[in-house]
Subunit: 244 residues, 2 copies
Amino acid sequence: MSGWIAVAGLGPGADSLVTPEVTEALSQATDVVGYIPYVARVAAREGLVLHPSDNRVELDRARLALDLAAAGRRVVIVSSGDPGVFAMASALFEAVEADGAEADIRILPGITAMLAAAARAGAPLGHDFCAINLSDNLKPFALVEHRLRHAARGDFAMAFYNPRSRSRPEGFSRVLQILREECPPDRLLIFARAVTAADESLRIVTLAEAQPDMADMRTVVLVGNSATRRVGRWVYTPRSAGPV
Amino acid sequence: MSGWIAVAGLGPGADSLVTPEVTEALSQATDVVGYIPYVARVAAREGLVLHPSDNRVELDRARLALDLAAAGRRVVIVSSGDPGVFAMASALFEAVEADGAEADIRILPGITAMLAAAARAGAPLGHDFCAINLSDNLKPFALVEHRLRHAARGDFAMAFYNPRSRSRPEGFSRVLQILREECPPDRLLIFARAVTAADESLRIVTLAEAQPDMADMRTVVLVGNSATRRVGRWVYTPRSAGPV
């Protein structure tokens, strides 16, 4: 049998959010490649080789998958959430382009963190919204700031991935500062941590109340637009919007 | 048993993209409420009452669900894609707020159209991106234009929902015109129609080549950022970005 690569999104954590398409691909795989905690979510079975790797080695991981597929193996690259949202799909195509590799590739979508978090909170992304990766590992912080200001001035709701890490504890303080320059203090923020995991938590605050230490590596932060409001324990953004 | 409402995302169309969580909710439901083509995707069974309704009656549909739940029924409101992305979740909370209704509500996320489309194309949303509903049913076109310009100037990739309909055939021409004012002619666009359906099609063109009639009601349009490129038959956006 000839080899293939499926880049699969495992969703935010719960098995009940893994699509049947991804489950089927995993059942056919000979090899699973990915970041350690994501590979740990795949059940071991005879004949399945697990290749867990550390963070920030995405290109190495992509090349391993390409080599395995070229040798006839059936490889699933696992990502948390959706593989096309700040995850392994882009890294794989970077490797394909750089190496001139050829492979039978499929991308299998998954439930991305911002939509799982939004569902827990209500419907904060119910109108136009942006997704922004706050990590400055691969882009300058000036670009993060540039996009934040355009997102705020465009009155988009926002979802922030990778808001804060040990290697850049100050970055999220600057993000909150930029938001405070662009948005009023009653703008609603949702800190959604470890959604669908046993230690899941959801914190809804105003921009005035938001603090940098409310976010960590396992948090997605959602920011409402000018119309986002609370109703009971929920936060939602109405479908209609007033004039510009 | 007391009533509840689950607002469930059915994904783009294929059964293999319906999450187990949604399948489980449908198996427990007494009533399914939704737009006709989405309700048609739910298998009939004894004891399950289907309540298909026409387009643009979202608030009536939400109130029907609230009434049914108040009477002790177990109601699934079905949306295509994800219920929190330009779908029924916001409409339900609008009805809850307007009527002061109380109900046991859960939002069950799904694979939203832009992520299914992106997966088919490669990884065009692999960096920061925006989702914009181009329908001006519930917002003025001036706000669509305002957001388009900010999204383009922020160098976001973009996903457009509801790009074109019979009632507003000219709207998408204006969108392309605004993009041409803001972006260079080699910017990549993907017209993804009926993703995962039997008549699925994917068309990759430059902004210079894009024509209004490439989109219809069943199309999601993806627009790359300044770094989005082709590799083989794929389109992807790299994870890194140059300086602003």
